[in-house]
C-alpha cells in the first residue's frame, strides 16, 4: 500500500514538472498551441516504418501517406539485380562453353542394337514439355527485358521501338505465365513418380554422372541430373507462379512491401532458373548426341537408352512379354 502511494506521489510530481513544459509552447499572442500534442512525421516513423492513416476515397490501399521502403527495393533493382542477373546467365553460358570445349559432345556409342527405337516420351508428355518450354523462353526473354532492356536494347533501337517491344513483352509475360504454370503442373503429374530420389542417384552423382569421366552409372527413367532439373522446374516453377500471381493481382494477397519482396524473389529465382534451363538445353541438344530425340520424335535409339538409362530399358523390356524392345508405333505399357 505504501509502495503504491509512493508511486502515485512520484507520478503526480512528474506530471507537475512536465505540465509547465507543455504549457510553455504557446503562440506569441498567448493562445495555446493546438499542435503541441499532434502527430508528427518523426514520431510516426518511430512507431512504424510506414505512415498510415484513414482515407475517405474508395481506394483503401491509398491510405499510406509515406512508405519509404521503395528505396531499398530500388537499390536492389537498379544496383544489384543487373549484376546478379548478368553473373547468373553469362556465368552459365561461359561454364557451358568451357565444358563443351574441354569435354566435347558426348557421342552416341554404337552397338548391334543401334537403329532400334524405344519410345521414351509419348505425345502428351512431349506436348507438356514443349508448351512449358516455349512459354519459358518467351517468359525469360521478356523477364530479362525488365532488367536489361533499357540498358542494352533501348540504345540500339530507340525509345519508341523499345517501348512497343517492351509492351508486347509485358503482355506475353502476363499471358504466357498461365500455360507455363499449367505445363509445370502437367509435368509434375506425369513424371513425379519417376523422379523420386533414391540410392542409385547418389551413386550416379558420385561417379560424376558420366559427364565427368567415361563412367556410365546406372540410371532409371531419369538419372540424378534429370531429377535435379525436374525438381528445379517444379520448385522454381511454383515459386515463380506464386510470386508472379501476387504481382499480377496487386494487393490481392500482400501489401506494397509484400509486392516489393515478391518482385525480389521473382527476379532472383528467375535468373537462376534461366541459368539452370540453359544447362538443360545444352545437354539435351548440343551436349549429347541422341538426347534430343527423346523430346523430338519421342523415340530414342536403343543403344543410347541402354547406355544412359539401363534400368529403365530393362523395366520396359520386362513389361513387354516376349520382345526385347518396343518398335515404332507401339506404345509402352506405362
Amino acid at each position: 500500500m505504501r509502495r503504491r502511494l509512493t508511486s502515485i506521489a512520484l507520478l503526480a510530481a512528474t506530471l507537475a514538472l512536465a505540465a509547465p513544459a507543455v504549457a510553455q509552447v504557446r503562440a506569441p499572442d498567448g493562445a495555446p498551441n493546438p499542435t503541441a500534442s499532434s502527430v508528427n512525421e518523426e514520431m510516426l516513423f518511430k512507431q512504424d516504418p510506414k505512415i498510415h492513416g484513414r482515407i475517405s476515397i474508395p481506394n483503401q490501399t491509398a491510405a499510406n501517406l509515406i512508405q519509404p521502403q521503395g528505396r531499398e527495393w530500388r537499390e536492389f533493382r537498379e544496383s544489384w539485380m543487373p549484376w546478379i542477373g548478368a553473373l547468373a546467365v553469362l556465368g552459365m553460358i561461359a561454364a557451358l562453353g568451357l565444358f563443351y570445349f574441354t569435354r566435347g559432345r558426348i557421342r552416341l556409342e554404337h552397338s548391334e542394337e543401334s537403329g532400334k527405337k524405344l519410345l521414351r516420351f509419348n505425345s502428351f508428355e512431349r506436348f507438356s514439355h514443349w508448351m512449358t518450354a516455349s512459354c519459358f523462353i518467351v517468359l525469360s526473354l521478356s523477364g530479362l527485358n525488365y532488367i536489361f532492356g533499357k540498358r542494352l536494347l533501348m540504345p540500339l533501337i530507340g525509345p519508341e521501338a523499345f517501348a512497343t517491344l517492351a509492351q508486347y513483352g509485358k503482355y506475353a509475360h502476363i499471358y504466357l505465365a498461365w500455360p507455363f504454370m499449367l505445363g509445370v503442373l502437367f509435368m509434375l503429374v506425369l513424371w513425379v513418380r519417376d523422379n523420386i530420389p533414391g540410392k542409385i542417384d547418389w551413386i550416379w552423382l558420385k561417379q560424376g554422372g558420366g559427364l565427368l569421366g567415361d563412367a556410365h552409372p546406372s540410371a532409371g527413367r531419369f538419372n540424378a541430373g534429370q531429377k535435379m532439373v525436374f525438381w528445379m522446374v517444379v520448385g522454381f516453377g511454383f515459386a515463380m507462379g506464386a510470386t508472379g500471381l501476387m504481382m499480377i493481382f496487386p494487393f490481392a494477397a500482400t501489401d506494397i512491401n509484400g509486392m516489393q519482396i515478391m518482385q525480389v524473389i521473382h527476379s532472383l529465382i528467375g535468373v537462376v532458373f534461366i541459368a539452370g534451363i540453359l544447362a538443360h538445353i545444352y545437354i539435351g541438344s548440343l551436349g549429347m548426341e541422341g538426347a534430343y530425340d527423346a523430346m523430338g520424335s519421342g523415340e530414342v535409339d536403343l543403344a543410347w537408352a541402354k547406355v544412359h538409362h539401363d534400368l529403365w530399358v530393362k523395366e520396359q523390356q520386362a513389361k513387354t512379354a516376349s520382345g526385347p524392345q518396343l518398335g515404332r508405333g507401339q506404345v509402352p505399357a506405362e
Binding site: 492513416g53 519508341e160 506494397i256
Partner: protein, 198 residues
C-alpha cells in the same frame, strides 16, 4: 528556373477533399484513379492531422530510376513527368514510390495494369503544350498558361502550397513564426532530402 514543390501545412488542412475533387475535375481523371488524396492520421484521437498527398516530384525520383522503359523525365521546373506512349504499365514505379503516387487504370484481364497515371503538377506531358493529345493523356497544362496547380490554387485554407520550393518554404516559415509552432513539412525529407529549417 524554379524548383517546383508541394507543401501541405497540416495545421491548416481540414480534410475537405476539395483538392482531390478539383484535380479529378480539372484533368478529367477516370474512375478509380486519384492523383491526389487526403489522409487523416490519428483519426478521431487527440492530435489528429490531415495531409493532402500526391506525387511530390522528388529529387532523384525513384520512379524514374526503376522504370524499365525510362519513360520519366524531369522538366526545367523540376517537375517529374512521364510519357504514356512509352509506359508499359509494369507497376514498378508504384513499388518504388514513397508516396503511392502512380495509379493504373484496370484494363484487360488478369488485373493487367494500363498506362500509369499520376500528378503532373498541372503541367501535362511530352506532347505539345496545350494540345488536345496532351489534354487527353495527361489533363490540362496550367503551368503552360502561367498558373499553378489547381489543388493548391483553390485550397480554401491555403494549407496546400504549390510553387517554387524556396518561396513556399518562406511562406510556411512566416506562418510558423507568426503562430509560434510548425506542423511539419510532410514528406519533404523523403522527397527532397531536406526539411524546412525554422
Amino acid at each position: 528556373m524554379a524548383r517546383m514543390k508541394f507543401l501541405c501545412d497540416a495545421d491548416r488542412c481540414i480534410e475537405c477533399n476539395a483538392c482531390v475533387t478539383a484535380c479529378k475535375n480539372e484533368h478529367e481523371v477516370p474512375w478509380g484513379i486519384n492523383r491526389r488524396r487526403v489522409i487523416t492520421l490519428n483519426d478521431g484521437k487527440p492530435g489528429e492531422r490531415s495531409v493532402s498527398m500526391a506525387c511530390m516530384h522528388c529529387t532523384d525520383a525513384p520512379c524514374a530510376a526503376v522504370c524499365p522503359v525510362n519513360c520519366f523525365y524531369t522538366t526545367a521546373d523540376a517537375v517529374v513527368l512521364h510519357s504514356k506512349d512509352l509506359c508499359i504499365g509494369c507497376g514498378y514505379c508504384f513499388y518504388a514510390c514513397p508516396f503511392g503516387a502512380p495509379q493504373y487504370p484496370r484494363v484487360g484481364n488478369f488485373g493487367s495494369r494500363g498506362k500509369m497515371d499520376k500528378c503532373t503538377y498541372c503541367s501535362g506531358g511530352p506532347e505539345v503544350d496545350l494540345s488536345v493529345a496532351e489534354y487527353e493523356k495527361y489533363g490540362s497544362n496550367r503551368l503552360a498558361e502561367g498558373k499553378l496547380p489547381l489543388c493548391a490554387e483553390m485550397c480554401s485554407t491555403k494549407s496546400l502550397l504549390a510553387g517554387d520550393g524556396e518561396m513556399i518554404a518562406q511562406i510556411y516559415k512566416e506562418r510558423v513564426i507568426k503562430r509560434g509552432y510548425g506542423s511539419g513539412a510532410w514528406g519533404w525529407k523523403t522527397a527532397y532530402r531536406e526539411t524546412i529549417a525554422i
